[in-house]
Symmetry: C2
Subunit: 167 residues, 2 copies
């Protein structure tokens, strides 16, 4: 079994993040650009940026970054957080890295006093596996905005109570 | 009847916007700060900023700014726009300025190829008049995220098709 650990994203991980997002293939160039902007804000200002970013790294050899998660407090709310990104290298799927990244984000949100974690995604079929991943992790669909991304592609919002209370 | 005209917001209107937002009383200091950030981005970069900002000004005398609207294309979407702010000086309500600002935004979105205009607001009772205002203008409630702003205060999203097609 491959050992892997979670740690804060560092500047030297930026290329790995870019490689992973491109390899996942569902993201547009504009989405990749936005993801890297969040990474850069985290690298520049840390938690002050509003974006906490962590990677999962296989510890064998010189270490290989296999996934990352980016989340932060939702502006204008009390205790609501957004999960902006969670992505795992397609070559390293089936190891539970996605669930580990998600569980880490939830624990960190709880530790920082959050109560609600939200994840937005698209209804487009390319995201069907993503939706199943969130549902398995206990997220509930709380909102669907029809034709948000484009005609026929809705915005879905999934939510999970981090405090154990019902939504 | 007082004459009033719509025009792009200029740097000299910033204080009027600040005064109007404060007078409306439902907004927090954090919300006021965010509104002024959008205004500043518009002043710095114009439509390139992603925030179009217009005021309504009574033309008598030296001119008095009575309201403003701020809207822009929603990132990562094709044809969806967000209405970020529409506010009217409480001392000038009942003249239909809010509806004029909203109708202007809708026409401008249509002219720029948009198809869907979204407005987010809170379910808190302070916003009850705002919700009625959107409903009268033909907006439909398409999403409610429970306890989004704080426990007991949901995020509501209203939507209107700008092209005349159904949502």
């Amino acid at each position: 079994m491959t050992e892997a650990r979670l740690r804060p994203l560092e500047a030297s991980d930026r290329a790995a993040v870019e490689r992973i997002i491109a390899a996942v293939e569902v993201f547009s160039l504009e989405e990749i650009e936005i993801a890297l902007e969040l990474v850069d804000e985290w690298l520049e200002s840390g938690a002050e940026s509003g974006y906490l970013t962590y990677v999962i790294e296989e510890t064998a050899g010189k270490g290989t970054v296999r996934g990352f998660v980016c989340f932060g407090p939702t502006p204008l709310t009390e205790g609501t957080w957004d999960l902006y990104w969670v992505a795992v290298d397609p070559a390293a799927q089936g190891h539970g890295y996605g669930q580990r990244l998600l569980a880490f984000a939830e624990a960190e949100v709880r530790r920082r006093g959050g109560r609600l974690l939200l994840i937005e995604t698209a209804s487009h079929e390319a995201y069907a596996a993503t939706v199943r991943f969130y549902e398995r992790a206990g997220y509930e669909l709380v909102s669907r905005i029809p034709n948000f991304y484009r005609v026929g592609d809705d915005k879905l919002t999934f939510a999970k109570s981090i405090t154990g209370e019902s939504l």
